[in-house]
């Protein structure tokens, strides 16, 4: 009878460290775990006692990849707590920089972390030697998205110009127009990206689950909206805990989440499944080329959904730039504290899925309580449910292939363990 023992310590090509453990005895799956060890939650402690205007700068440092996402969710939580209305220009600029971060993160994941599996190499380094044109294309797209972020938020890495109520730095019309030209030119690289993805042998695996994301009536939602699920539930943002229902499991100290089923999925595929109708026509065409139409239930295709979102974000960035140029850029004053605190929830659908920040601010403007629920924690239970479903289907294959499939499955989620654990240096025996 079949015995399989998969033990991947420190799964590579994910952000941070996590373990995969699969144990099959006599054909029966006796153990199937995705292990992440979480240090105490330093995040809340770091913002408690700090003035409201520092929170976005502190939390943007939690993650080098999702700096803008954390900053935006943080600002929305603060603004909702303090009753701050932001201008249409601020909303447009935030969407623009957010698109930059989505492209930046997705191109890194699709090309540098996922593609090596399909090319049969261990990392992007041999890929750079065997297929330099592929890696150089990825770096071109990454440079464009990094420059887009820097143009809006003032810096390549951390969005220093993003503040409560608005921005402290504004792009010029000439910068916007030059960026538009570069975005249009990038369509060729995006087309090549979709053509490449269409040739990849995506594993054949289906498991239906509940998909959770932000949703808006008038656009493909990344910032604000309501929380929606493919099981038909919707919640206003202050009710986010009705979706996340955090709980602990013994083998992993990262908190988990579940809603209507044993698990749910967040991220690009969840957004695609909930908000397909609002994708740009070019992004829909890209989806069609990949054979993707909602509801897609193959988790491996989260990477496909990421590429589709890259197309959408490039096109929507061009639209936003046109609108900003038509309106003209105005240097708007920032919010001034009114001596009245409150509680607020901010939510963004960051590259890896829906993110919640929740602050309680006192009448002195000091943060007295904070909660942050990140996407990777919400996905942990679903990753494990996928593993349990996939293992029995591939038990007849060589152990190395089973191991690789499990690694690819986890990597498809683009887990950011460094963020979910709040700690990089986790050692396992």
């Amino acid at each position: 009878m079949t015995n399989v023992n998969v033990n991947v310590h420190h799964l590579t090509r994910v952000e941070g460290h996590g373990n995969i453990v699969v144990d099959v005895k006599n054909g029966d799956l006796v153990k199937c775990e995705w292990q992440v060890v979480e240090a105490p939650r330093f995040f809340e402690a770091m913002v408690r006692g700090r003035p409201y205007y520092e929170a976005s700068h502190i939390t943007s440092r939690i993650c080098g990849i999702c700096a803008t996402g954390h900053a935006t969710a943080s600002l929305r939580a603060t603004e909702n707590a303090l009753g701050v209305e932001v201008s249409e220009q601020t909303e447009l600029l935030r969407k623009l920089v957010f698109h930059g971060e989505i492209i930046d993160s997705h191109v890194l994941h699709v090309y540098m972390l996922v593609a090596p599996d399909f090319f049969g190499v261990g990392s992007v380094l041999p890929l750079a030697s065997s297929h330099p044109e592929v890696v150089k294309r990825a770096l071109r797209i990454k440079k464009l998205s990094g420059d887009l972020c820097a143009m809006v938020s003032g810096r390549h890495t951390h969005p220093i110009a993003m503040a409560v109520g608005g921005f402290t730095h504004f792009p010029t019309i000439n910068e916007l127009l030059a960026m538009k030209e570069r975005l249009i030119a990038a369509r060729e690289d995006l087309d090549e990206t979709m053509a490449l993805l269409a040739t990849l042998p995506w594993p054949d695996f289906e498991r239906e689950t509940e998909y959770v994301s932000l949703k808006k009536d008038d656009e493909y939602a990344f910032i604000d909206g309501v929380v929606a699920t493919t099981d038909g539930f919707t919640y206003d943002l202050p009710d986010y805990r009705k979706v996340t229902n955090e709980y602990m499991v013994p083998h992993s100290t990262a908190k988990r989440a579940k809603h209507n089923r044993e698990s749910y999925m967040v991220g690009a595929l969840a957004r695609f499944n909930n908000n397909y109708d609002q994708l740009h026509p070019r992004a829909k065409a890209a989806a069609e080329a990949l054979g993707m139409k909602p509801i897609v239930t193959n988790s491996f295709l989260n990477s496909g959904a990421q590429a589709i979102e890259m197309v959408h974000c490039v096109e929507d960035s061009i639209r936003i730039i046109d609108e900003l140029v038509d309106r003209g850029i105005k240097e708007e004053p920032l919010y001034e504290f009114q001596g009245k605190g409150g509680e607020g929830v901010g939510s963004c659908d960051v590259p890896r899925g829906i993110l919640f920040h929740n602050y309680v601010i006192d009448d002195e403007g000091i943060i007295q309580g904070a909660n942050c629920i990140i996407p990777t924690n919400q996905n942990c239970a679903n990753m494990e449910a996928d593993m349990r479903a996939l293992v029995p289907q591939i038990l007849d294959r060589p152990q190395e292939e089973i191991t690789l499939m499990m690694e690819m499955l986890i990597r498809a989620y683009d887990p950011c363990i460094s963020c979910s654990t709040h700690f990089l240096d986790v050692e396992f025996v």
Binding site: I58, I62, D147
Partner: protein, 186 residues
């Protein structure tokens, strides 16, 4: 310290501060470049906060003649002290990895530099593989005392900052003397 116009050609020399200011002394690189950027620098020098990004560093390095990196690193010295290395003096591009020993040196005389933000090594390896490495890559590694989740530097690292920034300033000025003004040659 902004990036300026993102559409123009990159300046010849880039100074990158790496690390996470939420991780105690890991923020020393970011603090050092903040201090450096406040000084009068040669016109072809750009200073940037690289934070904890990984492969994005390749994009920042592209088209430069010299890149100077400052980061917390195990250089086998007391906290707050630093070492300066040219890339070829380190094992960052070797397969052998980053194991530090007590002396900070191995038998072949190269430095076993242990850099906290491992993304730098991946970025250097990728740039190397794509033949995109700048002519000169200089690394200032600063010995940290604590990498716990906290803001602010430990006193020893704080005290070491003036010497570190002075050395970096000398380095960027030296780069101008050695390499002249930026030209079309890359």
């Amino acid at each position: 310290m902004t990036t300026g116009d993102v559409h123009r050609a990159p300046l010849a020399t880039l100074v990158i501060g790496l690390g996470n200011p939420l991780r105690g002394d890991d923020g020393v690189g970011v603090r050092a470049i903040e201090l450096l950027a406040a000084l009068t620098l040669p016109p072809d020098v750009e200073v940037t906060d690289g934070g904890t990004q990984g492969l994005g560093i390749v994009n920042l390095m592209e088209g430069r003649r010299r890149v100077i990196v400052v980061d917390a690193a195990d250089v086998g010295k007391p906290p707050g002290h630093f070492s300066r290395f040219a890339l070829h003096e380190t094992h960052l591009l070797d397969d052998s990895g980053l194991c530090a020993d007590d002396s900070g040196l191995n038998t072949r005389g190269k430095t076993n530099l242990s850099i906290h933000a491992a993304g730098l090594r991946e970025a250097l390896l990728l740039a190397h593989a794509l033949k995109m490495l700048p002519e000169n890559v200089i690394i200032f590694g600063v010995q940290p005392n604590s990498l716990e989740w906290e803001t602010g530097l430990s006193p020893a690292v704080e005290e070491g900052l003036p010497d570190l920034v002075a050395a970096m300033l000398a380095e960027v000025r030296d780069s101008v003397q050695q390499h002249g003004a930026p030209s079309a040659k890359s």
